[in-house]
Subunit: 477 residues, 2 copies
């Protein structure tokens, strides 16, 4: 073990056993040299390592301070994550979402496709027609579980994949996150164990935190996306009540899990009687000819609550999602009537018209082609320009690329530096609370290649190279 | 004390001390005669009294069963209400909301004005124009805290009442209930004490329940609406963290509290440093020349979170409300980004146009006149046709009348019987969990008088008379 690692470990232990509290100032570099007997370089490296792991943070001209801790315990094949610090992940997500909000920012960190690809003329025409009619606003027909015709059309799409569904199984929600939260509240209560993928949409962390759930994570399988072994072991060891998984066009990584593995997951869910909150919001973003099956397809016992929305295919401004609630429909409607009451009536009406025409399928087909083309262009650019130590995860679906930076690099720094230059990206601490996974970036590749994009990408590359060089320098010093 | 009251009290005590559990069958009438030594009539009266109080329920041909209890302890000037039965009030509200959902039901139980009075042609025209433009759907500008121009317009309306406000104080929400819930979550956590009015919009009960708050209620003052004495005593006795009050056009009763009392309430809030969630969703529904002041006007210390919406003035289908969040804006935005993410962008854009024209004020003026005219007509009808033992609470604002039925009558029965005849009304157990307040009804009077309305009102009167007669018969038997 390097001396710097040794020192870092000492300090980490002190933080973990409570000798240091959040926002305490660590001894200055020189004080630490005296205290520890290590050289200045060693102390500097140790502090920087702790910073890269998110355990401490640096304030300019003031020194290093202890960060609020999200404690995690690594197990054999899984991690127990105690979300002690309610503030940290929420503040990070908040800051990140705010940062993508200014019109002057190029939103490569956004989770939504370029809005130029959405809001088709036909859809807007239909919206315009409906908006003029009083009846389109009728709240009675739009109250939970939502517009009947819209639920019929959604049910029909499930049936097209061989999943027996009727309108009564569906509840319309205010977007997919609302669907996911409602579904989770329905099957889990404070103190229950939830299993998450180690890297997952931050909404899952926030929901687990808010409901007071105990979180167990399993790592992604490097080849198959999903690690069945780890999953089985956790189910054997912990009384898991519910899982929250994304298996198609995983956000942020991008993989789609095979049908064989999904089948095995379903078998295990049935064996252990565990609920699954299935986030399938990118379900339509496949490039091949066949839409990937959701876990709902393999579910014989109403354990899967499948959630999706029109935010990625038609536009996030509509705020319309849904959950395949099945027997939980009433429970979910209860929760809605206590919070948002109902989803916008006009939008529900207009979507019925649009979805029942051939325009929706036509739009989806061209959207997929556009996304594939754009993402390939971004991928080519990264392959040609990223430092050799970086890796790009390319999967044939969705519109994200997941970049692996050199291990010592902290994606938060990249994120902050790029923001100064009006470019947003999504750093891995948004999706993963483990300290060893802070060197990934999600890039939104749904934008048509242009001079502006190329300039931004060059800035991104330069930023990575610069951080890489300075990291190397520090290590070799 | 009547013998029947004596027996009822015995049984009530047995229920309260846990000798009987929810859904236990009480001894049959004849068994109870033998057990208690009272006459059959006495036992019948006692059972019916317990039923009227909601403590037991009758199943046809099976006898009487113990209801799930919402225990309440009456204090000198207040009540501690423990919301043990999470199911009961939610199920009732759910059933009630569902019952108003069918288009074949005349919604005299609805909380919304007749939709014929809303959705003005000008507003629909503006909606139609915006709906055709891609930019109207831009989510970036509509993310929390919401559309800037819309927040400016709302802020301006506060300033018109002499409340210093700017756009940054306002957060746009998915309707008023969303605003109220977000505001409450921001200042209260499980275990905190909340003070509610004894009779209040059911959303307050549900929110308190969900957050695990301890509820203290104070009764309405028969003359002034708000009982300052009771309020002061409770603040002295309990560590109240937050109040949730409605002081303008109170739902369901209808009163508006005077400025003098509001001033005193504000003084007490400041003295005890207590937050107030102010539900002011009927603020525009005044009949006189002057809009009543909200509590926010008297608040010097950012303790009041004032909530309202456009649901009652423009249409519930829009799902746009707001909270005067002030320094809590960031916290509330955090919560939004974890749940609904944002409010429909199109509607926010269109409302900016409508509100900044003269059309909004013009619409409000004619809406107020219409509501006043309709409500007076309903009031006249009730005065002429209700049994003398009933009372109608008429206040010059809003569009509800609050009917007090004879004490032995259970408004749930009236509600259920009218529903059979396709008429909904809102029974008092929706708004009040105390067993002694089950004989009130809220009637929505926003409908233009017509043959259909007159027929429905005659049905309502007949139903009340019939129940009254049968109650009298039972008593005299």
């Amino acid at each position: 073990m390097y001396k710097s690692e040794q020192l870092a470990q000492q300090i980490r232990q002190q933080i973990e056993n409570g000798s240091w509290h959040a926002h305490d100032k660590l001894p200055s570099l020189r004080e630490q040299v005296q205290l520890s007997g290590f050289s200045l370089i060693t102390v500097m490296n140790a502090y920087q390592e702790l910073e890269a792991q998110g355990l401490v943070y640096a304030k300019e001209k003031s020194g290093y301070f202890v960060a609020e801790q999200i404690q995690s315990k690594l197990l054999d094949h899984a991690s127990i994550v105690s979300l002690n610090s309610k503030v940290e992940i929420n503040s990070l997500v908040f800051q990140y979402l705010k940062s993508t909000q200014s019109p002057s920012i190029l939103p490569l960190g956004s989770a939504f496709p370029d809005s130029q690809l959405l809001y088709t003329p036909k859809l807007l025409q239909i919206m315009g027609q409906h908006a003029r009619h009083r009846l389109s606003y009728d709240q009675v027909g739009s109250l939970p579980p939502g517009n009947f015709a819209l639920r019929q059309l959604i049910a029909q799409r499930y049936r097209m994949q061989g999943i027996p569904t009727d309108a009564d199984d569906i509840v319309i929600t205010s977007g997919c996150l609302d669907a996911l939260n409602l579904a989770l509240q329905t099957v889990a209560k404070a103190g229950d164990y939830i299993l998450l993928q180690q890297t997952i949409f931050y909404g899952a962390w926030q929901a687990a935190e808010r409901l007071g759930l105990k979180v167990i994570t399993i790592p992604e399988h490097p080849k198959y996306g999903f690690d069945l072994d780890a999953f089985t072991k956790v189910l054997k060891t912990y009384p898991i009540k519910v899982c929250w998984l994304m298996l198609n066009s995983h956000n942020p990584i991008g993989f789609t899990v095979s049908d064989e593995i999904k089948y095995e997951i379903a078998k295990l869910l049935h064996e252990y009687q565990i609920y699954l909150i299935e986030d399938d919001v990118y379900e339509e973003m496949y490039y091949g000819g066949k839409k990937p099956l959701p876990m709902k397809y393999f579910d014989q016992q109403n354990l899967v609550l499948h959630c999706s929305s029109f935010s990625k295919t038609l536009g996030a401004g509509f705020r319309v999602g849904w959950v395949y609630a099945g027997k939980f429909s009433n429970h979910i409607q209860h929760l809605q009537l206590m919070s948002t009451i109902s989803v916008n009536a006009l939008v529900q009406h207009a979507l019925v018209d649009f979805l029942s025409s051939h325009h929706y399928e036509k739009h989806l087909r061209s959207l997929r082609l556009m996304l594939e083309r754009c993402k390939k262009q971004f991928y080519q650019f990264f392959k040609q320009n990223l430092p050799a130590e970086c890796e790009v995860y390319y999967y044939p679906s969705g519109y994200f690329l997941w970049l692996k930076l050199p291990k010592n690099m902290n994606s938060m720094h990249i994120y902050e530096q790029l923001l100064q230059q009006n470019i947003s990206v999504a750093p891995s601490p948004l999706f993963n609370v483990l300290e060893l996974q802070q060197h990934f970036l999600r890039v939104n590749c749904s934008f048509e290649w242009s001079d502006q994009i190329e300039m931004a990408m060059n800035t991104l590359i330069a930023c990575i190279r610069q951080n890489h060089t300075s990291t190397l320098k520090t290590i070799n010093e």
